[in-house]
């Protein structure tokens, strides 16, 4: 067998199986027909037929993020590849390992404007970690394995392999490069001992420390979160998580201050502002986190641990950069902390916590649920209460509901929360949920959604039915693009330009037409029953939760403002108009 020639398509299937791939999300087309024929003739690899290629990439992202494995996508040339671009960009921004195989016209037609030809490597160069065009069958097995290595090593990301049709049909020997590494690409994993010693001494000496942790902790694997938990317990410091980092540290623990940033908690943002030491781990000082840079945590020393050197000193200059794998470095730090017999400064920490508790008493996430109209915060709070003891995975779309989900749904472990953070891709949640459900068929998978985002990829409802993926879509329906409406109130005098969706479909009937179960809650007293029914039904469910149309998402740091200039509610909004400088920011 080993010395037998195989077709390019067979080599691809063989390489995928040797990489431990069990599921491919894809959509056929002329240029990839030979691969689909090879898929037809085997039964180790499961193919999930999506309804649009954009959905395939989000499914692969959901699959990857919930399992820690590489997600795999297969699309055809031209429109197949261009439809995948949004998902690839999303995966790049959020560091999700994805390998995307794209068909291409035969090599002799490349550059001739052939039918369904697009310059896929050209188009995807800036939105992938790396990409390949295979022009010689002898490169195919190496490229296949190298792509997986690149996708999952260092800071993970999407990799495209563009496959001309003649390569798929050519014959060559398969060489198992299973353990192949790239000839030069070797991300640094371990830190220098003196860097670790310095970091640990800085933490031990700090009077007002805070850990600011992001998706890098999640990407480093489950062990990294455990080590982070141990370090935070040892140091007694508070921890705040980015949107991508939720779950890296238990959300219900008292040392957790919740999410920080634009819609982060009052205590997290003020603690960042007043801290004397920020320990940034696997986070990247995103503009949604820092607010106005000039006033970002002005009095703190900063340690930044990240596997990507380009994340360090990008926007915020730090005092101690440490490049390497978060899990490896946390392990090194724990060892040094113990070996040196460091003790946290208990007296200073006590005063620090007293201050933090005072901020906490502002109860910045409180809302007023009275009367029959369902507050969206209440809907998500109830969803959390009723599902937290389940084996549950949450995805979201993008907008107000996403921020409320981040604020009110508490995650106790990593890989349970899938959201489009960096790119902010509306329409991510439903396909991502399907990808998660395919990977975890027995678990409860819920897409916390808004009606506008849901409609961006709702064609994938049909995919969920085909593969019996009983995902739940929990639509907080206010008929507005809520976050757009909120910004129009804040920045544009309440002129709701095109942010109201007239003529929405009847979501219950839509569900039924798609062979889903449709549920609706219009009154606060119906909410719990609908959630309970949604959880219980072993089929895909679309729950139309009619929520307060005017509710806005607080707390909020308006764009161009600093951490200590938060708006806690609508009353603050009226008092402080946004600066002109802030208006131009997004």
């Amino acid at each position: 067998m080993a010395d037998q020639k195989m077709t390019g398509s067979e080599i691809i299937i063989k390489a995928l199986i040797n990489e431990g791939v069990d599921t491919v999300f894809g959509y056929p087309g002329g240029a990839v027909l030979p691969i689909y024929d090879a898929i037809f003739q085997q039964n180790q690899l499961k193919h999930i037929l999506v309804r649009q290629e954009g959905g395939a990439v989000h499914m692969a992202e959901g699959y990857a993020r919930s399992t820690g494995k590489v997600g795999v996508v297969l699309v055809t040339s031209g429109p197949g590849a261009t439809n995948a671009v949004t998902g690839l960009t999303d995966a790049l921004m959020d560091s999700i390992p994805v390998v995307c195989l794209t068909g291409q016209v035969p090599t002799h037609l490349i550059g001739n404007d052939a039918f369904q030809e697009a310059d896929t490597t050209g188009i995807t160069r800036p939105c992938t970690k790396h990409n390949y065009l295979v022009k010689d069958i002898r490169d195919l097995s190496r490229v296949m394995h190298e792509a997986f290595y690149v996708a999952r090593s260092g800071r993970p990301g999407p990799v495209v392999i563009d496959l001309p049709k003649d390569i798929l049909m050519a014959e060559e020997m398969y060489v198992d490069h299973g353990k192949v590494e790239h000839k030069t690409y070797r991300p640094r994993l371990k830190a220098e001992t003196n860097e670790i010693k310095k970091a640990v001494a800085m933490i031990a000496a700090a009077k007002k420390p805070i850990f600011y942790c992001g998706g890098g902790v999640v990407n480093s694997g489950g062990n990294a979160s455990k080590l982070l938990g141990r370090l935070i317990k040892l140091t007694g410091a508070p921890v705040t998580l980015t949107l991508m980092g939720l779950g890296a540290y238990p959300g219900s623990d008292k040392q957790s201050l919740g999410m920080l940033g634009m819609h982060g908690t009052y205590e997290a943002n003020l603690a960042m502002h007043d801290a004397d030491l920020i320990v940034a781990i696997g986070s990247r000082f995103d503009d949604r986190v820092t607010g106005r840079l000039a006033d970002f945590s002005p009095n703190s020393k900063k340690i930044h641990i990240d596997i990507d050197p380009s994340s360090i000193n990008k926007t915020v200059a730090v005092d101690l950069p440490i490049v390497g794998d978060v899990g490896t470095i946390l392990d090194q730090m724990l060892r040094v902390w113990k070996a040196k017999g460091h003790k946290a400064n208990q007296k200073a920490l006590k005063a620090w916590w007293t201050q933090i508790e005072e901020w906490r008493t502002r109860d910045c996430l409180k809302y007023n649920q009275s009367g029959p109209i369902i507050k969206p915060q209440h809907a998500i709070q109830r969803l959390y209460e009723m599902t937290k003891d389940h084996d549950c995975y949450i995805t979201t779309e993008v907008g107000q509901h996403q921020m409320w989900a981040a604020q009110y749904y508490k995650f106790e472990e990593p890989h349970r929360w899938m959201t489009s953070g960096g790119l902010g891709t509306m329409g991510y949640g439903l396909p991502a949920a399907i990808g998660v459900q395919i990977a975890h068929p027995e678990s409860l998978v819920i897409d916390i959604s808004g009606e506008a985002s849901f409609m961006m990829n709702m064609q994938e409802m049909s995919t969920a039915v085909q593969y019996r993926a009983p995902v739940k879509v929990f639509v907080t329906n206010n008929q507005y693009m809520g976050m757009i409406r909120q910004w129009q109130e804040l920045l544009h005098g309440g002129r709701y330009s095109e942010s109201y969706t007239d003529a929405l479909p009847d979501l219950v009937k839509l569900a039924e037409a798609c062979q889903w179960v449709g549920l609706r809650a219009e009154n606060a007293d119906e909410l719990d029953d609908v959630i309970q029914e949604m959880i219980t039904i072993d089929r895909p469910v679309l729950a139309d939760i009619r929520v307060d149309q005017t509710e806005n998402c607080f707390p909020m740091i308006p764009s161009g403002a600093a951490h200590n200039e938060m708006l806690l509610g609508p009353a603050d909004e009226a008092k402080r108009p946004v600066s002109e400088e802030g208006m131009v920011l997004v």
């Binding site: 050209g122 160069r125 800036p126 065009l133 260092g154 000839k183 030069t184 050197p309 380009s310 200059a317």
Partner: protein
């Protein structure tokens, strides 16, 4: 930390795999992230290992220069990134081909100045010269400026190539 904001000019040498698209990756990085390219030269320098060397002259604040180097380093086909401006002494050279057309005194004057600048005439007609000149960017600029009134018609420049002084390799 105090952040330096003065703009500096740096010469960066980059060793890359000589494979399809590698130059597009580098240029795309600069345009996509809004960095400056003052000059860029590229050619294969090690045929056996298919390695090319790119020399980029760029400018930015120290924080931006650090970003440029980090962003270049994380491109998969890039082997090494060396900032020749900060890492020890280096020498830089640029080559230009300068075409000057004219008759009479201007023609003589052009030849005389070329001699002073150690430029060589590598093509000649009754009404024109093509000079080859190499040296620092500033020297080339000075020569070209002097040729303007003497009938400068065309210039082709290589951009800067640079190498570290001393015995060690990149």
């Amino acid at each position: 930390m105090v952040v330096e904001t003065a703009v500096e000019r740096h010469t960066i040498a980059v060793l890359v795999d000589n494979e399809a698209g590698v130059l597009a990756r580098v240029i795309g990085l600069f345009s996509g992230r809004g960095y400056n390219i003052e000059s860029l030269t590229v050619a294969e320098t090690d045929a056996a290992d298919a390695i090319s060397r790119i020399t980029i002259v760029t400018s930015g604040t120290p924080m931006v220069i650090e970003q440029i180097k980090a962003q270049l380093s994380r491109l998969v086909p890039i082997h090494r990134v060396i900032d020749l401006t900060t890492e020890g002494a280096s020498v830089e050279r640029e080559l230009a081909l300068v075409k000057v057309a004219g008759k009479g005194n201007k023609r003589v004057e052009a030849l005389r100045i070329a001699d002073i600048f150690r430029a060589r005439a590598i093509d000649s007609t009754n009404e024109s010269f093509v000079f080859e000149i190499s040296g620092s960017t500033e020297k080339l600029n000075a020569f070209i400026d002097l040729m303007v009134p003497l009938g400068l018609v065309d210039v082709s420049r290589t951009g800067v190539v640079a190498i570290a002084r001393g015995k060690s390799a990149l």
